[in-house]
């Protein structure tokens, strides 16, 4: 509850920031309207785009409309609203984000666990190498390399855009590499700690199988620390990975953000920033709820008895 209120306050702060930052870049009329525009046309355009009145009036009407999902017309695509432009691009980003998130979890978590369990083995060495690579390789470079080898030279998958499920392969790999590396490393170190703990020793003393010892007693407490981090990368993946979308010409919101910023399409930029902030806030709330499930020590409303 407190977290939800805090979330709303954050959203409010973000709206101020977004609104003022967008104004700092200059007057959109200068960029978008023809140089020889008539006075009447300019006034009409200002009226239509909500650029009339003082900066305060502009902000108040921005927030009022935004709370109803109306971010105004897009400057770049005059026939559409900012909201509809984003809605059109959102499915491409979210579907890619889901594929990348699943990939991250399915590869990163088990690899981290196994590399802790089989510490010092060849698997551990490969995993550690992968973690180092994944956290240090620049996304754009990896994307270009993959396009060059897998798409251009071997011609296995399309180079860019969306044309069938094959198109998802390269971008989702590039997006998830960092998350895989980070989760792998976090799970590995957390598992090493819990595997060496007294309660894992006690679990073994009870005669439990190694499977239960590792996947129940060591894993659950070890998943607390990586959880926070996972929230962060999930947001990044779901709200559109800008660099990757640009390199792969992926028609998602990440690419849209880049286009809109270039075109000073304020309403779209503002709507995107608020959308991203909202997703982050919602994700953090979800993570908080998951915390309470994983770690009984953070559950509210319970008092120690003894």
């Amino acid at each position: 509850m407190i977290n939800a209120v805090r979330g709303l306050l954050t959203l409010f702060a973000v709206s101020i920031l977004v609104f003022s930052l967008a104004r700092l870049t200059g007057d959109p009329i200068d960029v978008l309207a023809p140089v020889d525009i008539s006075r009447e046309d300019e006034a009409a355009l200002r009226e239509r785009w909500g650029l009339n009145g003082s900066i305060w009036e502009q902000y108040v009407s921005f927030v009022g409309n935004a709370s109803q999902g109306d971010f105004g017309p897009s400057f770049k695509y005059p026939t559409e609203t900012a909201a509809s432009v984003i809605a059109e691009r959102l499915p491409a980003s979210i579907s890619l984000g889901i594929v990348a998130t699943v990939l991250t979890l399915v590869i990163g978590v088990p690899l981290g666990i196994l590399s802790a369990v089989k510490r010092g083995s060849w698997l551990d060495r490969i995993a550690k190498g992968l973690a180092l690579f994944g956290q240090s390789v620049p996304e754009f470079w990896l994307a270009i390399m993959l396009i060059w080898f897998v798409a251009v030279r071997w011609n296995v998958v399309p180079t860019s855009g969306i044309s069938g499920w094959q198109s998802y392969i390269l971008p989702s790999i590039v997006i998830s590499v960092f998350g895989i590396a980070a989760l792998l490393r976090l799970f590995r170190s957390a598992m090493l700690e819990t595997l060496g703990s007294e309660y894992v020793k006690l679990a073994r003393l009870k005669g439990l199988s190694e499977f239960k010892v590792v996947w129940k007693h060591a894993l659950k407490p070890a998943s607390i620390a990586p959880l926070t981090f996972f929230g962060g990368i999930a947001v990044r993946m779901l709200t559109g990975a800008t660099v990757v979308e640009i390199v792969f010409a992926w028609p998602g919101v990440g690419y849209l953000a880049y286009e809109a910023a270039n075109a000073r399409d304020f309403p779209v930029v503002q709507a995107l920033a608020l959308f991203t902030a909202a997703v982050i806030i919602i994700m953090n709330l979800l993570i908080d709820i998951t915390y309470a499930y994983v770690d009984p020590r953070v559950r509210l409303g319970q008092k120690a008895i003894a």
Partner: protein, 344 residues
């Protein structure tokens, strides 16, 4: 008596047949600095209903000895390299991993040192207790497991057991947690219970309570208990016999009163003298000068000789065999028969 004769065959209390017989057990730790001989030829035997105390300084190998009995020495450094651990007539060192898991909790259990650390913080007490009950009895339904869990908590005098089962470890005091660990260890009425410093982490008042609880469990079930400690007070309160461990080996073993009143190994005496006493005028605590030898590079002679006030040449040159003092009391000291040693 010669060095390689196992101690248990001589000092066995003939009350009952031994449930646990350890012969020449050796556990080494292979580290990057060398091989640490943490347990280096330990023998003893334990009858049912009996309590053996193993006392020694930190680093004497007593905890490694305890872990060796259940084959849970730290991986991959720790290895049991020799000897036998006969439990109910079979050598547990020969068992497969699967067979060993059947033995743990059912025939031999262990209580760990720190109750704050030994329960998993993210599972309820009931869950962790049910696990200990289900593991050796897979056919039990949930209702029976619940009943048995409640009984197990009652057996260690936990008040309001039904409610406790739903609690998480962080909602309990250290003493309560250690009782629950005790209930888990005793869930299957094992023949041997190893308690590794069971009270070190508890408040003094709770300590005595817990030791009484162990005694109480022993009287009801006949479990043989090994208490590992550095505290002679705990030994005096709970044990029938005591073995003094130094640098990976036992140096003296015998009935508690005899060891307390007539120690025959200078190390035992030094340990007894270094206990804090309330009735003494001196405010300074006695300590033993010097450090225990490195377990990587051990001397050929007596391992205590370098710190011993009574050491003679032979002590440095030759490791002393066991000298029998009475039927149940023996010490590994060349001068054990010369007591009292001349005061320095």
């Amino acid at each position: 008596m010669s060095l390689d004769q196992p101690m248990g065959t001589v000092n066995d209390v003939p009350r009952t047949a031994p449930v646990l017989e350890v012969q020449d057990l050796r556990t080494y730790l292979y580290t990057r600095w060398g091989t640490t001989k943490a347990v280096d030829g330990v023998s003893f035997s334990l009858g049912s209903g009996e309590t053996l105390g193993i006392v020694g300084e930190s680093g004497s190998g007593k905890s490694m000895l305890a872990l060796s009995l259940v084959r849970l020495t730290p991986e991959p450094a720790g290895k049991i390299v020799g000897g036998r651990v006969m439990l109910n007539g079979r050598n547990v060192l020969d068992l497969t991993d699967r067979q060993m898991r059947e033995v743990r909790g059912k025939e031999i259990s262990m209580i760990l040192q720190d109750p704050q650390q030994s329960l998993n913080p993210v599972f309820s007490v009931g869950d962790q207790l049910a696990e200990a009950i289900r593991v050796h009895d897979r056919d039990l339904d949930d209702k029976l497991i619940h009943e048995r869990s409640v009984d197990a908590l009652k057996s260690v005098h936990v008040p309001a057991p039904e409610r406790r089962l739903k609690n998480f470890p962080h909602q309990m005091s250290g003493g309560m947690k250690q009782r629950i660990v005790g209930a888990m260890a005793m869930a299957y009425q094992p023949q041997v219970l190893v308690a590794d410093e069971p009270t070190t982490a508890l408040d003094v008042t709770i300590q005595a309570q817990y030791l009484r609880l162990l005694k109480d469990l022993q009287e009801r079930t006949g479990v043989a208990i090994i208490v590992i400690t550095h505290d002679f007070g705990v030994i005096a309160e709970t044990c029938d016999r005591v073995a003094v461990m130094y640098a990976g080996r036992f140096v003296e073993e015998g009935p508690v009163e005899q060891i307390f009143d007539h120690p025959r190994h200078p190390y035992t005496r030094a340990l007894l003298e270094s206990r804090p006493k309330v009735d003494l005028k001196s405010t300074r605590l006695q300590s033993i000068d010097g450090q225990p030898p490195s377990l990587i590079d051990l001397p050929i002679g007596c391992r205590f000789a370098a710190r011993c006030a009574y050491a003679i040449e032979r002590c440095l040159a030759e490791y002393p065999p066991w000298f029998e003092i009475t039927e149940a009391h023996a010490a590994a000291c060349w001068r054990s028969e010369e007591v009292p040693w001349p005061s320095p």
